[in-house]
Amino acid sequence: MDAAERATEERNKTALRRLFEDAFNTRRFDLVDELITSDLKLHTHIRPGPEGLSPGSKGFHEMIRWIAVGWPKSRVTVQELMAEGDLVAARFIFSGTHDGWLHGNPPTGRDAAWNEMFFARMRDGKVAELWHELNIIGILQQIGVLPPLWEMGRIPPPLLRVMIVRKRIKRRFLRGDRAVDAWRTAAISREAAD
């Protein structure tokens, strides 16, 4: 491997590390645009609203702001970073306290931590395509939206129905100023940032 290739790989790893440590952990969201391309293709399970993310770098902004609102004191600890050519992969631990709204569910104040992975294709030192994998079931269990007894088996369909109906009723009656779910809070913080 020649020195130029090695330098590119190091630069790519650094970009991903800065995305976690400089942009997310210190909430310097203005740095994000230095680290991702404006036409970023983002593949993630994170949806800051029922309708999903906007295309391009805007979607990434929506995602991290929503996470920061749902988990205000959260941080990412990089466990592993690797690179070859224009590809980079990262394995990290996300840890935080659930002090914000998540999927329209109120804060629980619970501490939680889990593993996640990024897999990225880079272009000119910036992330051009990003795959993001995490297990959302584990998170919903840690904050008590899904009962831990899922481990023991299937959630009985009647209980699932109760969960859905309760949610719909809450949505209908709490819509308005009291229903400050994370999506709306994120929209507010986005406007403030612009």
Binding site: H45, E84, F119, K167
Partner: protein
């Protein structure tokens, strides 16, 4: 060991063993004491070692017997290998207590492997199990899910505990 050998180990392990159920390949490519970290709910005990990897393969075949795994990107950095795969399969067997839905699902999975002496000695495996259950029609959208009432959860835990105790008592009896 050449970079391409490591790449090939992972590609074969994913496509032929994990995807097609070739257990002999697991013997060849996975170390006896491999450390495995997977989100797959294969059972109450987290799988570990070569036997654990076989357990994962058997479990995947039982839930999605026609599974197809395509290694889209595999890259090597030192003795670590990262992979992005597309998994596609029809849910024809039970997953936990979820009955088979007959539905076809497709999703991305990410892996990081550690390799030494020509064998995988560590695996990190991330995927969104919630998404797979949603594709099976077993789980609603997370935006549709409210927290279950505490009283119901408490009742279910109580019923579960009682059932387990009764089962244990029955199996303990001569």
């Amino acid at each position: 060991m050449a970079v391409d050998t490591r790449r090939e180990i992972v590609r074969r392990l994913l496509e032929e063993a994990y995807g097609q159920g070739n257990l002999a390949l697991v013997d060849e490519l996975v170390a006896d004491d491999a450390r495995l970290h997977t989100e797959l709910p294969t059972g109450p005990e987290a799988p570990s070692g070569r036997e654990g990897f076989k357990e994962i393969v058997r479990w995947v075949r039982s839930v999605w017997p026609d599974a197809q795994v395509k290694a889209e990107d595999v890259f090597v950095d030192g003795d670590r290998v990262a992979a992005r795969v597309t998994f596609e399969g029809t849910n024809l067997g039970p997953l936990h207590k979820y009955p088979p839905s007959g539905r076809r699902g497709r999703w991305t999975e990410l892996f990081i492997f550690g390799i030494s002496n020509g064998q995988v000695d560590e695996m990190w495996h991330e995927l969104n199990v919630l998404g797979t259950l949603q594709q099976m029609g077993e789980m609603p959208d997370e935006w549709e899910m409210g927290r279950p009432p505490k009283a119901i959860v408490a009742t279910m835990k109580f019923v579960g505990r009682t059932k387990r105790r009764l089962r244990e008592r029955r199996s303990a009896a001569p």
